[in-house]
Symmetry: C2
């Protein structure tokens, strides 16, 4: 059985967890890591997430598969720096936005490229946050797959199937609209909630009174500002539309309370309950 | 060792979990249940949450301790129906709002009464949702405790200590203001988020794309409309103030994205991150 060379650019939660998951499959891999954060490089080596560290794109560009697990602006920047790639090389980016990335990949390497969004993560980051089951039974959205080469399509499908993900196919534009509502706008809400409560409440009250609901709703406010600044920038218009829709809904709630329309409020809450008939 | 008679009015998550937790302590108890939902009554009996079911307030009013685990409007209604109580009887309500309740208790039984808010719960309800560790290591806020009799103060402190809760003391008015920001407004957000996403997204997209963040943020949108309608009504003005503050913060986020003030946005996200220095 041949050893597959996998390059991971960005040795954090996503890249590290991918390595652990692949190492649990039956294939043979050699992992080459690249990250400008030298501490993350040595941690990734120590944790056995990579077999070696390299320092330039050239050194990683001969891998069979190259994974980009870096913030979404970095994905666009790096994709422009690749020199001519071998026809069989597959690059897969794991970014949370897809349209700008899909449209920015240089023509010469567009067939090498697969744009994917694994719908998973935690608020933690760095190689120490890597876990074996981050991808298990989660969904990955493969976008604009017709723009990738046939070989690359197959490599990506096999890779995500090997780590037990469910594959969904979608246009990048459509993906970004859905992601704005289901992921990006909820992050804006969580950051806003955390800042609202910290302005209003003394630390002692927060600690004493925060129950499970508040903890859940503020958990993703711990997410990396650098990663999310990029996502908000790349998905700006969809995000603003999603925030507008949410604000209209919250305003409706506010007006029902203000005007004491309790029966209508009760119906509106019962409507919200039905989300969980879909989700569970 | 004498057997303490405990009456539980409202045989749901909170009342049922209290029974389980008390049964794990070293004391002897006899539990008497009252609930207008006959299915909940028989479930509570089957699950061993209560030893007997009664059908009138009179039959429960001779208990040593009476727990009110019903929606907050119900607490006020029931408190007005108690006839003269024995001097040693302790009534404890578990409502999520405290000012209206504290001020509505008839004078004749005010010393019998302790108004408490255990800061715990799940989105589930009914006796089948009861669990043994719902209260363990959580906070309970005891409000306006100086209005309760000395005996009742001691009974309540012992009861909550026995189920391993941390005691916090606060005026009812102050409690309601904090609770609006840390609990009630986040529920309004979660309901709004669920309704926004369901209007925008097809069920298949929600299922395919919902990751941990969205699931966490929409979890409490599954909460009981009847319970939360009452809470929103009783804490109306504080809730509206909290929603206003949150909306201002979300608007700030929206404007930073709109105006592409990315550095300021990044700082604002980093500020939100610091909540978790307090919480964890």
């Amino acid at each position: 059985m041949a050893t597959t060379k996998i390059g991971i650019i960005g040795l954090g939660l996503m890249g590290g967890s991918l390595s652990i998951a692949l190492q649990e499959s039956l294939e043979l891999f050699h992992f080459i890591g690249l990250d400008h954060n030298t501490k993350h490089c040595s941690q990734a080596l120590e944790l056995g997430l990579v077999n070696e560290i390299v320092h330039t794109l050239d050194e990683i560009s001969h891998c069979d598969i190259i994974i980009l697990t870096i913030p979404v602006d970095g994905i666009i920047a790096v994709s422009k720096q690749f020199k001519a790639l071998e026809a069989q090389c597959t690059i897969i980016d794991f970014g949370s936005t897809k349209e700008k990335i899909s449209n920015s990949i240089p023509k010469e390497i567009r067939e090498n490229f697969v744009t994917a969004h694994p719908m998973t993560g935690t608020e933690k980051f760095g190689p120490l946050a890597a876990v074996s089951d981050l991808y298990t039974d989660k969904t990955v959205v493969l976008c604009d797959l017709e723009k990738s080469g046939k070989h690359q399509q197959n490599v990506a499908k096999k890779l995500f199937s090997d780590i037990k993900m469910q594959l969904v196919f979608m246009g990048a534009k459509e993906h970004d609209k859905h992601a704005a509502f289901i992921s990006h706008m909820p992050h804006a809400i969580s950051y806003s909630l955390a800042n609202t409560v910290m302005k209003q409440e003394a630390a002692t009250s927060v600690v004493a009174l925060a129950a499970g609901g508040f903890k859940d709703m503020s958990r993703i406010a711990k997410s990396s500002p650098n990663m999310w600044e990029d996502i908000f920038r790349q998905n700006k218009s969809n995000l603003l539309e999603a925030i507008d829709s949410f604000q209209a809904e919250l305003k409706k709630c506010q007006e029902m309370v203000e005007n004491e329309e309790w029966e209508t409020l009760n119906d509106w809450m019962a409507e919200a309950n039905t989300l969980h008939d879909i989700l569970e």
